[in-house]
């Protein structure tokens, strides 16, 4: 391993009410990929932001190539060769790809558009990113936008590259591409700090792991010395109850013969270009849509909920034909939908936790029957307790909560409407391991009480743990349905890749 390129010693950071970092050390060597792990709120993001100059540290020192440096702004960090790609896209969607790659970096006021586009095109080509330099960034998929952000960071001749959850919106092939890129950079001697929630990815690509918990350093480990179970228990600070066992904890709801399905759809398609598909779900069943990103998983459930305009298809609820053309219709029929993109479609940022929790139920009850403050507080407090939502009070704006807790609030919103059929689209994306397990357990508990649930997740093992039937999608077609013994990783992969269902 190369020499130490970055040393952070005794970093301390206090926010009002929170001691976010306490005496944290971190060391990065040349040409290594170093995973920074911890639950939400462990201090990973704060550490990264101290390093990149977004926050100023209260105590401690940062040593870059044996020189103590002071980083006061992101610009400083960039000039020192520290580049960052954040979890959320931080580019300007209304500018072109090339502009995004070079913005804020040219030192002269005159801009050579032609050269800029050529340079950008070269880099995009090298990294095999499917985007044109002159294309407007907003017209690219989220995954491509993320890769443009990486391209921007990589191009800046960096010594330290920070990837803060870059993979959460990428599909597996794109992740592979990114990993290849990371290995190339590693070979060139770049030190990479990799922050992610995906354990698989850590073990696939990283050399070392530093674990944080509650703002404190737990330790630094070689990857081979730290098996997964131990990593998780170090992150949580407790022995993990074996996650693979949760399914058996709740007896599966017994399906009675000839029972009417809770919900069926036939020949359903929507404006978002999903090809007509049939679907049904029974009482107490947990099923799921799986497939690569962009395969049409979300579009299917959005069509069911009426979030996108339906082009064809018939739906029944409890055996009776129903017309669902917009979300309110679905809600009135007892269907709830937790959307994929929490920020855009889920939270109402400036409103309080309380208002966010009662919103859907309030809409269902009607504009002329507002809940009194007391009622709203009662609902909010009940679900804050039930789902263990960590918030200062029911009046806190939801945007100041951590991602996992925001997601719980949205979940509470829909549980409050007492649905018969609950659709969860990526409920565990970008949230910590502990909350993930909580949500999986809750799903199985609700199902055992008779609720029908459709569960979508990018993590296949999570779906295998919770679902008893998987609908496999490829290129916006349903290409297969797996139950029983077929529910395993290999079978899913082969169905996605398209073995037996080619005739369709």
């Amino acid at each position: 391993m190369g020499k130490e390129v970055l040393k952070m010693r005794g970093i301390d950071k206090v926010f009002p009410g929170v001691h976010a970092l306490q005496n944290v050390d971190f060391t990065l060597c040349e040409g290594e990929i170093h995973a920074l792990m911890g639950e939400n709120g462990a201090g990973k993001s704060t550490l990264i932001k101290v390093l990149t100059g977004v926050y100023t540290k209260d105590e401690g020192e940062i040593i870059l190539n044996d020189n103590a440096v002071s980083i006061k702004s992101p610009q400083d960090a960039q000039n020192l060769g520290i580049s960052t790609v954040y979890q959320e896209i931080t580019l300007c969607p209304n500018l072109s790809v090339a502009e995004n790659m070079f913005i804020g970096r040219e030192h002269s006021t005159i801009r050579n558009w032609k050269k800029m586009n050529e340079d950008a095109g070269k880099i995009l080509n090298e990294l095999a990113i499917p985007a044109k330099p002159a294309q407007q960034l907003a017209s690219c998929s989220i995954a491509v936008q993320q890769m443009v952000a990486i391209a921007r960071a990589v191009d800046m001749d960096c010594k330290v590259l920070i990837l803060d959850e870059p993979t959460s919106s990428l599909d597996e092939q794109e992740v592979e591409k990114l990993f290849k890129l990371m290995r190339d950079l590693k070979a060139k001697g770049v030190g990479i700090i990799f922050v992610t929630h995906f354990l698989d990815q850590v073990y696939e690509v990283c050399d070392k792991i530093t674990v944080l918990r509650d703002g404190q350093l737990v330790g630094e480990y070689e990857i081979k010395d730290l098996p997964r179970v131990q990593l998780v228990s170090k992150m949580l600070g407790k022995e993990l109850d074996d996650m693979s066992d949760i399914k058996s904890e709740n007896a599966a709801y017994e399906k009675k013969a000839n029972e009417t399905p809770v919900f069926t759809a036939t020949n359903l398609s929507s404006t978002e270009a999903v090809y007509p598909f049939d679907f049904h779900i029974n009482k107490g069943e947990v099923n799921g849509f799986t497939g690569l990103l962009g395969s049409g998983r979300s579009e299917c459930v959005r069509a069911i909920f009426g979030a996108d305009r339906n082009l064809s298809g018939e739906k029944t609820k409890d055996g009776k034909q129903v017309k669902i053309s917009k979300p309110i219709d679905a809600m009135k029929k007892g269907i709830a939908y937790l959307p994929e993109d929490r920020k855009v479609d889920g939270i109402v940022g400036d409103l309080s936790v309380r208002e966010n929790i009662v919103l859907a139920y309030q809409v269902l009850k009607g504009a002329m029957h507002p809940f009194s403050k007391a009622e709203a507080y009662k609902f909010a407090d009940e679900y804050i307790k039930l789902l263990d939502i960590k918030t200062a009070s029911a009046d806190t704006p939801i945007k100041s909560l951590s991602g996992g807790n925001q997601q719980k609030v949205i979940l509470a919103r829909w549980l409050l409407t007492h649905p018969d059929y609950l659709i969860l689209d990526e409920p565990t994306r970008g949230i910590d391991v502990g909350t993930k397990v909580d949500i999986q357990k809750l799903v199985l508990k609700l199902a055992s009480e008779g609720m029908a649930i459709t569960f979508i997740s990018s993590e296949t093992d999570e779906m295998l743990r919770t679902c008893s039937r998987l609908i496999v999608m490829r290129d916006r077609h349903v290409v297969g349905e797996l139950t029983g013994d077929d529910l395993n990783q290999n079978k899913i992969m082969s169905t996605i890749a398209g073995g037996e269902s080619d005739g369709k």
Binding site: F305, A307, M331, D345, V348, D350, L351
Partner: protein, 360 residues
């Protein structure tokens, strides 16, 4: 004593973080300024007006009286701002349209009738319908055609006063019935100007609407995140549309007061530039002009602050041509002080001060 002080600072601390502090502080500032310059500003004296009725007179009464239209418009403007994240700049012109329609109904085709041609209530209801149609027009452009509010309302802003003139064939009808003048003046026997009561009524109505319907929650949700609101079963377009219609109704009420004050109308001058004052009231109330959360009472107080300022300047014998310039200076100061960064800095200074005091 020490206890008292502590609880006091607690309330003060709460207040400084609440939104309503901004217009209240501005109001306080103006009051102090007037107290120092000339305490007689606050004197209210009973007098007899030209019609022989006993009335109260004084600058405070003037402020309450002439602030009425602005306060009523601020109600609607707050809702439009919250729901659509933009402002309606056509309110002055639509006041002209509503007022013109009102006079057309009351005076008929003849602009100098001997008696009114229809009951005042009918005229007012027609004005309300016209106001709501104008609001609906703006609302459709903004909500369904997704045109930016300022651009959409620019149409009526430009065309409104011509439409108003056209309604009465460009004549200036005069309402002969003295009861019509009550709405903008005094009701015999009551010494407080009638517009004050009309404004109070509007406030009570909006208070009840906000309390007994979910309008407040829906407008804020739609203003903050329309996409999420839709998935929660709301119809964001409808909510935006309704906010414009409500503003249209407010405009009609303001038009009633404005035309009643003169018993006639001047198409090019009536309610001139009032849209900017209405928007300013919303801003002074600390409401983000980009939409989302709102505080109705802060906006209403903001409206009276503007009127207070105008009246103060008049009293200082500032000529009406120079008025806007002085107003602009004061507005700049107020807006800078209400900016979040400045407020944070101020509250930090207060903390330091109180910490020092405790040490001492």
């Amino acid at each position: 004593m020490a206890n008292n002080k502590k609880s006091g600072s607690g309330i003060f601390g709460k207040l400084i973080h609440s939104q309503i502090i901004i217009p209240l502080a501005a109001l306080l500032l103006l009051i102090i300024f007037n107290l120092i310059c000339d305490p007689s500003f606050f004197v209210i004296t009973p007098k007899t007006n030209s019609a022989g009725n006993p009335v109260l007179s004084g600058y405070l009464i003037t402020i309450l009286d002439y602030g009425s239209e602005l306060a009523i418009l601020a109600i609607g403007m707050t809702l439009v701002t919250a729901a659509s994240g933009g402002q309606d700049i056509s309110v002055g012109a639509t006041i002209a349209i509503c007022g013109s329609a009102l006079l057309r109904v009351l005076c008929g085709a003849n602009s100098r009738p001997e008696t009114i041609q229809a009951p005042i209530i009918v005229g007012f209801l027609v004005a309300c319908v016209v106001g709501m149609i104008c609001g609906a027009f703006n609302g459709i452009l903004v909500a369904y055609f997704k045109i930016q509010p300022m651009v959409a309302t620019l149409i009526l802003f430009t065309a409104g006063r011509s439409i108003a003139a056209w309604i009465n064939n460009n004549e200036l009808p005069i309402v002969p019935d003295p009861t019509f003048a009550y709405f903008g003046g005094y009701i015999p026997g009551i010494p407080v100007p009638a517009p004050v009561f009309i404004a109070a009524l509007c406030m009570i109505v909006i208070f009840l609407v906000l309390k007994f319907t979910t309008l407040g929650l829906y407008t804020q949700a739609v203003g903050i995140n329309p996409s999420s609101s839709r998935l929660n079963g709301l119809n964001p377009e409808l909510v935006k549309f309704i906010s414009f219609v409500i503003l249209g109704l407010c405009v009609a009420v303001a038009a009633l007061i404005k035309t009643s004050r003169l018993s006639t109308i001047n198409y090019s001058v009536i309610a001139k530039d009032i849209e900017m004052d209405a928007i300013l009231a919303v801003a002074l109330g600390g409401n983000p002009l980009s939409g989302g959360k709102f505080n109705m009472w802060a906006s209403i107080i903001g409206a009276y602050v503007i009127q207070f300022l105008t009246t103060t300047l008049y009293k200082m014998k500032v000529s009406s041509d120079a008025l806007s310039a002085y107003k602009a200076i004061v507005v700049i100061v107020l807006v800078v002080f209400s900016a979040p960064t400045v407020r944070e800095w101020i509250s930090a200074q207060f903390k330091k001060l109180s910490a020092k005091k405790e040490v001492a």
